[in-house]
Amino acid sequence: MSGKIIAVDVGGTFTDVVAVEDGRITTAKVATIPASSDKSVLAGARALGVSDASVFNLASTAGLNAVLTRRLPKVGFLTTMGHRDILDRGSLVRPLEAITDPTWRRNFGDAGGRPIIPRYLRRGVKERLNAQGEVFVPLDEAQAREEIELLKRCNVQGVAICLLHAHRNDVHEQRLRELVLEILGDLPCSISSETSALIREFHRASTTVMDVLMKNIYGDYTKRLQKGLDEVGFKGEFNYSDCSANLLPSDYAMQRPYQLLMGGPAGGAVSAAHFGGVIGDNNLLCADVGGTSTDISVIVEGVPWSAPTFELEHDLVVSATSINIVTLGAGGGSIVMATPEGDIATGPDSCGAEPGPACYGDGGIRPAVTDAALAIGILTPGGFLGGKKRLHPDLAMKAFESLDTPLPLAQRIRYGWNMAINNIAEGLLNISIGRGIDPRDFSLVACGAAGPMILPCLLDQFPIRRVIVPPYPGLFSALGLISTDRVYSDHRGHYMVLDGRSAPLLNRMYSAMEARLREKVGADQPGLRVLRTFDARFLGQSWETPLIEAPAGEIDEAAIQTMIENFRTTYEKLNANRFDNLPVEAVTYRVQLVLPAAKVTYPAAESAGPPQPIGETTLRYLYDEPRRAFEYDREQLGIGAAIAGPAVIREETSTTFVPDGRTATVGGHREIIIQ
């Protein structure tokens, strides 16, 4: 594949756009219009000349925002009679914060925005399959029609159907969908056996509901975008990014659009994995520091940590393989405040995009981390967003002066800054230790506009190998959309104890899924890879170890032995025991067809002689007395350039801070390594 690739990553404040052509990267930032983000997407695409591009990749947050703000279309839910409260009941797990709170109550019925479909639109249908998928009570079509007629009178814009045990037999769901389309006409209708044919009716129901909501939201959204792209003469392929930051062709994505829900945050992780491959560093922690939050992902041996499900909110579950992202409430916009005792605390409150930090001069009066950086002298009044935005140090100082604390000004600023760093350090420590990772073996990739400014200071608080600032740190997440492959995937659920007898059925399942996907992808695609995985557990366990590798080709007795062995090895890695005598039960089976896509290349750095400072700044408050620090222009730094801290390295969309006692070195692909 050749030609220009454009990638668009929609954020809360800015929409980032990058274009890659012949190894050259051009970038643009446009303001996000939250109410109609498709307009900002098109504006961004036009800014970098989408008309002659061959590929257009988009990470959209339109669906996620609609769910979080509950701006959702009215949809109905049909399920087996007596089970319409599946969505209400959820997983029966209390949220973490409720475990020590005896007054916590689940919101039931018509109260409180949960579940996402109100009770009167959740209707029971007389039918029942048994656990083997055999018809136990036949579908009562007359009664079903009555319920669908009622949904019609309520003007629903879509219907989700999830019947008990439908993952084993879709006969009733298929017939119900025919009735829905007959009575309600052509509207989005998702059935669980097609959307998410997995065991566990709550997860299946929740995912199917999300799917029909997303069909509503992304159906029109995609049409508007496609029309806008047609108008400027774009003739290439249009892909969405899914929860694993894989690329899905837009028409294919619309068949199961629930996969797009977490398409945005995953970009940073795959970008880090790809860049790590380029520079030969495959064990990474990636921290994407934005305005309000920091998204953290873990990459082990080049592969981002993934999970088979994710939770949007408590008991709002979507079964989609997704990269594990942990979000901390700490960013450049985190508010520095005085506690009632007069101490300084930072975050998790954020000043948000409006009014922004006090130093923006847009009406903010509470000090944020960015204000601290300006007061310290890491940021300078004219050096923000390539000089497009002027910062006001006097307003930053005034905001710190207004804090109700006996601490002197210098300490307010220094503590506020250090608390922000400490919050991220604590989050990183919990994530890495909690997953059995020794951070001393890992490099921290600092991205997001504020990452290179804040994260190098972590070296003094957190035992990490080194901090790497990649090229274009402010657009790193968008570059993730040009760091990944096109993936077609399918999955099925079926309880099966793995032994020789399970081979024929397992073989049929894997080969049927694979055949259907090959049909979609088309014959003879060069470079096509097939990946099979499964989730399994020891017989008697109630939770699975996910995403274990399964062999390709025919599943025979030997292949089953390999699967069992793979399971035990993975289980032992995670839990330090392999239980050789316990039988293994497989639960979920997945197939992915991976088509390589064109990826961004990071040109090798050139040498440019010893680094020459472009200016000097005074760092106040951070150390016991003011320190002079040289400022450098990142564009002018060549390979091998070494800069001793304290120093500040500037570029158009970001600022890198090299703390006292640390050295920054420019690596082979223009990355800055601080250790």
Binding site: R105, R106, F108, G109, D110, A111, P118, R119, Y120, L150, R153, C154, N155
Partner: protein, 79 residues
């Protein structure tokens, strides 16, 4: 004292207007006990959409009369 001879039942009072969700003329006001306690609700009897919902008396239909009945019964049971 409460009249125990007459079995209690919830009285559903018709309310004027149409259901904003399905358009039926079937709105009724009545009391309902749910996980959050007693509520007085207006619901469409056709689609069961909840049109109005506000907290009602803590103990619902239980009043002083019922308490007296119980206390008297206990008194009578004692030797």
């Amino acid at each position: 004292m409460a009249n125990l001879a007459k079995p209690m039942s919830v009285e559903k009072v018709p309310v004027a207007g149409v259901c904003p969700e399905c358009g039926a003329h079937a709105l009724k006001r009545y009391e309902a006990l749910s996980a959050g306690g007693w509520f007085q609700v207006v619901k469409c009897q056709d689609c069961l959409a909840s049109v109005e919902r506000k907290p009602w008396k803590r103990l619902g239909y239980v009043d002083r009369g019922h308490v007296d009945v119980i206390l008297n019964a206990r008194k009578a049971a004692k030797p």
